[in-house]
Subunit: 311 residues, 2 copies
């Protein structure tokens, strides 16, 4: 698609759902000259080699970094600091260092101090994903129409920001820029709190005495099954998100708990009018999300068709 | 599909997502000889007439009931009592009366006292649906592989239960029998509490000062958008569910709140091990649901394919 590659060599450190999707998309669209990948486990590295979707698989983060023009850390946010420390001495002058972490304040705090002055640090977060993880879970279309948020620290070279924006745009994403602090607040409500709640209720359902797990699974089409998809997300990634974006999540959780108390009170008092008013208001947000193309307009996410095909 | 129709005449009282799906499925599979439908609003009745998927559309519940062998109330649970009162004098001797309500205790309490002794009352709840409502939202495949729960009161004629089971089986559903009390407890966790929580968090996100609604919608692919689908369900139906299954929902909510406190405490204390252990356990339930065919194994409910097709 691109006449000339935007970057000569791309290094991907970590090869899960996001790293693997970047590799596939960047190759398909001809966005980079060469892709070098590495991963912590030998098993993942062997699998990436087998998949044949990158030019080279190397054993260490240092090796991957040598000579790369764009280095993207695709590891859980809790691992970013130590990876930054390892790659720092190997970074090429003028290289761009980025990441894909779901938390930005902690990542900037952990990565920035290790980087030499002559590289550009442009943190990024593609708001996209599925409940699957590992090197086989990625696919080239993951970022299409999804937003990628960049949070460059004050004073970051504008040209470097533009180049990273061009990279994400080339693999299908739309780009927005904000501060790490604001990013962490926005994501606390659009992603982190929903995950915390989904993880909670799925755990609750699993431990009831009066209703068996088998019943919970059989009758999950009443709404519960939607929560189980989110609660099947990668445990390491999500542990790190909650440890590093604690303050913003606690703030949103406080508001959520107040709102839940209000609805509970309406239910307890038999206040049908309050319930009806609330349930009508929430419909509008769904319509807005479908209108701006951030979700499918098909009933039930379109999954009914899939079910029917299986029968 | 069926050699001979299971029922001569089916009356559908109410024609939303469920009534409309029953009509389409019953006709497609040849399960009944004739379908008569009615709805409270003249607009809905006119639309059903236009759709041409039933044999006759009549103006009153009484007229729909006259001569019907199976009468299914497809109205919000709060309306069941008054509908039962209206149809009672018109019920044919030996007819089966059923419903599709998401709450069974209150429905049995509201309907049963009005029915004459010579009809069979077999309450039912098909655990299936989408976020859409109204006469156009139904489709013949809605019940395929979904469970329909029957809650016949003690002493119900076994042959009547068998006939209703055959009806639901013929339109694709699997049938389970339980008491109204147990049904209401099971659905409180698999459907009602998930809806209450989804309605809450979507409301919370809509009223934040620091994060705009526009940001919430744009970055909703991080998990939030899944909740908006559930929170777009029919407000009247859900108001009635919470008013009539209050006790069971409050019981489940109590356990949920305790579990949310535990996870919050782990987050606040930085207890990564507790978070990781919890997030690993919840993955198993998802796998179970996919294995028994109650959800799609495709990543992201298979909706990514839909997104990609649109681009």
């Amino acid at each position: 698609m691109t006449a000339e590659p935007l970057f000569g060599r791309l290094a991907l450190i970590g090869f899960g759902l996001i790293g693997g999707s970047i590799a596939r998309a960047a190759r398909m669209r001809g966005v980079v000259g060469e892709i070098v990948a590495t991963a912590r486990s030998a098993k993942t590295r062997a699998r990436v080699m087998e998949l044949g979707i990158v030019d080279r698989v190397v054993d260490t983060n240092a090796e991957a970094t040598d000579g790369a023009d764009l280095v993207i850390l695709c590891v859980p946010v809790g691992a970013c600091g130590s990876v930054a420390q390892q790659i720092a001495p190997h970074l090429k002058r003028g290289a761009i260092v980025s990441d894909v972490g779901s938390v930005k304040g902690a990542v900037v705090r952990d990565i920035a101090p290790h980087l030499p002055a002559e590289v550009h640090f442009v943190p990024a977060h593609p708001v996209a994903g599925t409940e699957h993880s590992g090197p086989d879970s990625g696919f080239a279309e993951l970022f299409i129409n999804r937003w990628c948020i960049l949070t460059p620290p004050d004073g970051t070279d504008a040209a470097a920001v533009d180049r990273l924006r061009a990279f994400w745009t080339a693999i299908g994403a739309r780009v927005e820029i904000m501060t790490p602090k604001h990013h962490d607040l926005v994501l606390a409500i659009t992603s982190h709190l929903p995950h915390l709640i989904a993880y909670t209720i799925v755990g609750t359902a699993d431990e009831l005495g009066e209703v068996t797990s088998s019943e919970v699974m059989k009758f999950s089409a009443g709404g519960f099954r939607d929560f189980t998809r989110i609660a099947a997300s990668d445990p390491t990634m999500w542990r790190d998100v909650f440890l590093t974006n604690k303050d913003a999540v606690l703030e949103m959780l406080g508001t959520f708990n107040e709102d839940l108390s209000k609805l509970t009170r309406a239910m307890r008092r038999g206040d049908g009018e309050a319930l009806f008013e609330h349930f009508t208001r929430t419909r509008a947000i769904r319509r807005g999300i479908v209108e701006i193309g951030q979700d499918s307009a098909a009933p039930d996410f379109g999954r009914l068709q899939t079910d029917v095909q299986k029968t």
